[in-house]
């Protein structure tokens, strides 16, 4: 990477993710970068963004410097419009009230499938990961934005295990599996912004982050990437974005 930067990889993720949101949307957010990004968007240009949390929260405004350690803690209910049961908040996804799901990821593949369950054979796993939480439900029932670290071992051709479904094996395989709604919309990393081809459902580069080359993205990806005809260059984080982000996570729980 050529130029000096005044921001870290952990900071650009929530900032670029926040830019994907539109005011008035209903967004189901996971803990960490998603929660941070959604809250950042509320503070910047989406004051009427409605954030849902798995713990059973509708329309919260998380307090700067008091980010919840999980989406099941009381801090998530700060200034919420409604608190309800965990199953009931998930059923809102199934009924269709949610515009966008927003998660982190450990391992993703060319079709946007996410693995957070097993490294290696599930019968005798090399590593037992924490599992899906609400991830499978969210990605099964609505459109998804995933924000994650960009490493070759994390961007693989096929995930070891489909915990949270993207487009499964591409084409119509998602709908054919009984998931007619939703699907992967965007993947945000410290290197680029990705979308998915309308037909093949394979991941493709929509925009490069400032100072990042095509080669750099491909070299850090475990499968051959498609590139859009017109590759945009993402605007770098603004001073405002960085200032508000750092206020929000003043404890530096997630952007350290």
């Amino acid at each position: 990477m050529t130029e000096a930067r005044n921001y870290t990889a952990a900071e650009i993720l929530p900032i670029l993710s926040a830019r994907q949101l539109r005011d008035g949307m209903v967004v189901f957010a996971g803990v960490g970068t998603p929660l941070l990004a959604a809250t950042l968007a509320q503070r910047l240009n989406c004051p009427r963004l409605t954030i849902l949390f798995e713990g059973g929260v509708v329309g919260a405004f998380v307090e700067p410097g008091k980010l919840p350690p999980s989406t099941n803690d009381q801090r998530c209910t700060r200034r919420a419009n409604m608190v309800l049961g965990s199953s009931d908040v998930l059923l809102l996804l199934q009924r269709g009230y949610v515009d966008l799901g927003f998660m982190g990821g450990a391992q993703i593949d060319q079709f946007g499938n996410l693995n957070s369950s097993f490294i290696g054979d599930p019968a005798a796993p090399k590593t037992r990961l924490p599992g899906t939480g609400g991830g499978n439900d969210i990605s099964s029932l609505t459109n998804m934005i995933v924000a994650m670290k960009h490493e070759k071992r994390r961007f693989v051709e096929h995930v070891d295990f489909i915990t949270s479904p993207g487009f499964i094996r591409g084409g119509t395989s998602r709908r054919d599996s009984g998931l007619p709604a939703g699907g992967m919309f965007r993947v945000i990393t410290e290197l680029a912004v990705f979308g998915f081809d309308e037909t093949t459902r394979r991941m493709k580069v929509l925009a490069l982050n400032p100072g990042v080359t095509r080669e750099e993205v491909q070299d850090n990806t475990g499968f051959t990437l498609d590139f859009d005809a017109e590759i945009a260059i993402t605007e770098p984080p603004t001073e405002t974005e960085l200032r508000v982000l750092r206020e929000l996570d003043s404890e530096r729980l997630f952007i350290a």
Partner: protein, 321 residues
């Protein structure tokens, strides 16, 4: 050994008919309540992650050295570490299992699943919720639209895919889960077990209705008059409840909505210790905090007044607006 089988309706009704559902006081000690839980039982655990965890009851079961419990919970945090690490449970049904997002993977989970062959049975969050809800409704299954197409479902032959008889759509039917006993911690209830829950309910109401027995631990016991003055605030009716135990700070070091937030110094020291050595580190933690203390209050004293007060200050701040 702990295969998910749906309770036949006759059996479910037979068990229920045998319960004393009369309006009666049922206040007792942790020790007495602990006797409701027998080796090999299916135990439903209330709360989620670090919130309203029935820690005092888990503490009691570990002290009583229960064995082969099959535990189910919305989302599992350090309570799962303790259940596996202490040997009381060899099977945990949930959708997410780690100490907390802040601390990455649980070395305790990893050790017991990867090395000791213990069973972490993974469903989607909604899958766990619909299993409790079906159990609480007295139906053998509920239909849902998640988990389809994933390897999570691939690992769960207990779930059945059908073509909807009304629409022809692909659906997943998840089997009812009726725990033998549920452990639930609440902010307040009366001596009969009428419980009020402030803030996040998680899956506790479905769990209370689904279980064949419910042990309620509570921060405080209030009068039945107080309950009857606001009947629309009662979340769990007394006839679901078989034991009431008053245990202040009963979720420590986890949080209880509106009363105290997680005790983070204690949590971080715990995580550091058990992830450094999931066997020795865990044993040392259990010896010091679970087997050592004479009483629950002694356990709280070990966590420390400083942490309790600080957690309480943060806890009640939710009502400062």
């Amino acid at each position: 050994m702990h295969e998910a089988q749906v309770e036949p309706y006759d059996r479910l009704r037979e068990k229920m008919a045998g319960r004393d559902r009369s309006l009666r006081e049922k206040v007792m000690s942790l020790e007495e309540a602990g006797s409701f839980v027998q080796d090999g039982m299916k135990v439903g655990v209330g709360g989620s992650t670090m919130s309203r965890t029935p820690m005092a009851m888990i503490w009691q079961l570990i002290r009583q050295k229960r064995k082969n419990l099959s535990c189910s919970r919305a989302i599992v945090s350090t309570d799962g570490d303790l259940l596996f690490g202490s040997g009381v449970s060899d099977h945990i049904i949930t959708s997410w299992f780690a100490q907390g997002i802040l601390w990455g993977l649980s070395k305790v989970l990893r050790h017991h699943v990867e090395k000791e062959g213990k069973n972490y049975e993974e469903w989607s969050h909604m899958g766990v919720g619909m299993r409790f809800r079906a159990g609480g409704m007295g139906v053998p299954f509920l239909p849902m639209r998640a988990m389809l197409g994933s390897d999570v479902l691939g690992q769960r032959p207990e779930g059945k895919q059908i073509d909807c008889p009304f629409t022809g759509e692909r659906l997943l039917l998840v089997p009812a889960l009726n725990p033998d006993v549920a452990l639930i911690h609440v902010q307040r209830c009366d001596a009969y077990g009428n419980a009020q829950i402030d803030g996040l309910q998680f899956m506790d109401i479905d769990l209370a209705l689904a279980a064949d027995r419910v042990i309620l631990t509570t921060e405080r016991i209030v009068s039945n008059d107080q309950i009857r003055r606001a009947p629309d605030q009662t979340k769990i009716p007394f006839f679901c409840v078989d034991a009431v135990v008053e245990v202040p700070y009963g979720s420590a070091p986890h949080e209880c909505y509106g009363l105290y937030e997680p005790m983070m110094k204690h949590m971080e020291a715990y995580v550091k210790q058990v992830n450094a050595d999931p066997i020795e580190g865990m044993q040392a933690y259990l010896d010091k905090y679970f087997h050592g203390p004479k009483s629950w209050n002694d356990y709280l004293a070990l966590i420390g007044l400083e942490e309790l007060l600080e957690a309480s200050q943060r806890g009640r701040s939710i009502y400062n607006d």
